[in-house]
Amino acid sequence: MCLAMPGKIVKITGDTAVIEYPGQTREAKIIDGEYSVDDYVFVSAQIIVQKLTKEEALATLKEWENAA
């Protein structure tokens, strides 16, 4: 089964972002583009894959809650 959980950026230092998930945080590399604290992103293999809008992120997180 394949699932994508969005995380929220809580800190940026250089090209490294700290991403917050329920119960854990992980670091991921910013590849290009502009990111800010509170942005929601998808991460895979320690890189930021894609930014989501807040609306998309909250809707996805809601789906996660319902799927659990």
Partner: protein
Amino acid sequence: MLPEVYFLRYAFTCARVLVDYKKTITEEEWKKMQEAVENGAPMDREYLEKVFSKPIGELKKISPDYWDISVIREYFWNRHEEAITKTLPPMIKRLCVVRKGKLIAQFGDVFKAKIGENDIRNVNTMYPGPKVGDTVMVHYGYAVEKV
């Protein structure tokens, strides 16, 4: 390419979920999978069938010869979306569907891939010699193979 290698390249994308949420494999097992993917090394078929029982079940529906690469490709390219649609809402599965895209920019070892009109994402690549302009099959954050 061995079918176990081919299968794991596509299935590995989903394996993080097995560690963090389903908790059916350990972090150590996940790292061994990552090494196998990076090195192109096959993992034990029986182990893969145990860990990835759901997609393997879907392969069996396609053919009794379910470890044939053409069957694995048929599942991930053409049937994975239907399989995950049955159980997952659209927002969650959006990045999990395997789609054809193009590598449009390179940043060191990472590429930017464009899928369709509006889906642009950063991807790691799983095949040798990736270049901007390659047409690839993308699964979440990986360009799995050039097509």
